[in-house]
Amino acid sequence: MQLRELLTQKQAPILSRWRQLVFDSYPAQTAVFLAKEQDRFSNPVGYRLSQGLKTLFEALVHGGDRERVEAGLDEILGVKAVQELAPSQSLAFIFLLKTVVRQELAQELQDSRVAGEFREFGDILDGVVLLGFDIYTRRRERLCEIRVEEVKQRVSGLLRKAGYDLTNL
């Protein structure tokens, strides 16, 4: 697996460019702000996106453990799902990784073996998009659920008094 080694070697530049592309997909002012600081508390959204991308990338490079891939996706899509973008827009960032790798490893990809591995990597990414679709949907569903739960919660004392079990409603 030559590609994996190459990706590990070039992790820093690839991640940084990928992150920049993701940030750039936001309105200009927001993009600058997101990219500005990596501090977890002064730039929580930027931090969360960065962490998600890192987790996702590492999971992909180191064997593609599904749970970790999902964890990374969840970090990112949790944010995107409340930024109320269309699902297609929310998931587009995954494909951007292909572009980034193609650019960063332009030279190496001329090697046919690496190119072959890259095609496989592309297939894996397609799978990740499908997973991402699940997770995005789950996040949106979650949002609907908490809407409903909040409505129930506002009168939950009353419901309890009336003998309703909240979990059954």
């Binding site: 002012q29 501090d39 977890r40 508390f41």
Partner: protein, 353 residues
Amino acid sequence: MDFCKRHFSVALGAVLGLMLIAFIGVKANLQLLFGVVAPYLAVLIFVEGMIYRLIKWARSPVPFRIPTTAAQGRSLPWIERSLGDKLDNPENTKWTIGRMALEILAFRSLFRNTRTELRKDPVDGKKVQLVHWSYKWLWLGAIAFHYAFLVVILRHLRFFTEPAPGFLHLLDSLDGFLQFYIPVVFVSGVVLLAAALFLLARRLVKAELRYISLAADYFPLLLIIGIAVTGILMRYFFKTDIVAVKQLALGLATLKPVVPEGISALFYMHFFLVCVLFAYFPFSKLAHAPGVFLSPSRNQPGDNRWKLYVNPWNYPVKFHTYMEIEDQYREAMYEAGLPVEILPESAKTGGEG
């Protein structure tokens, strides 16, 4: 032209234009206008403008006591409050004065502008320090700017007094402690210029600041940079007849204005920018200087619960009275066993039966 460029170039154009006006004016022998009329007019506008501003502010009452309570308030006697707490959430006038002093003299709130570096390893003490420091830049820039400006203004009193008061000599020697170059370099001027450039650069480089900055933000900075640059050029490089300048200044101060010969155009440019700054001051954001004293979230003690605050325009409002609600629900309230002011009809008949 985009928003930022437009606002910046208008401000830059205005400052350069003002300098040009002074330059042409002097070449056209209008020294009287720029050396005497302009400064008197500027001071007049400054004083009247300031009074007008303050009266305008003061005419509006402060209806509520709304200090930003930035620390534990006065509470049970055994709850300890540090010195900082007492200053950040003052309980009486004394501590409020302390809070204001800290705010005005040390820019307390800007100093608060720290961010913790929690992601960093607490063992790695040095790194923590660095990050911590970097967020004080705005505070440092602001405080350097204001204090340098103060020193520069005080130093200039030398021109308007004869003999110059003693403290000015001390100030000069302190300011020139570097003993570098001839004439000795005054640190304050350099710091003022550097700080103003920093504050300007900040506006131009940081995206969100560029987005919010208006011509009214660039103009005073550029004006002050212009003043500092012309001043520094005059002191160190293109020297003007200092005796003549003092004559002019003293003349102005003693209300016996004279226009001596031999003062360079550079001086008039410098002087005119200062005049503009004075005249501009009361009508611009620079009025934050007196304004901060009137800021209701800072200049009031947090003593609402033990000292009554009266709103001068307080007026009675319409509200739902208890009796209105009882009238609405009397029957049901009575049935539920709630005490009522007036017994419902059913209770009366029930009682009789």
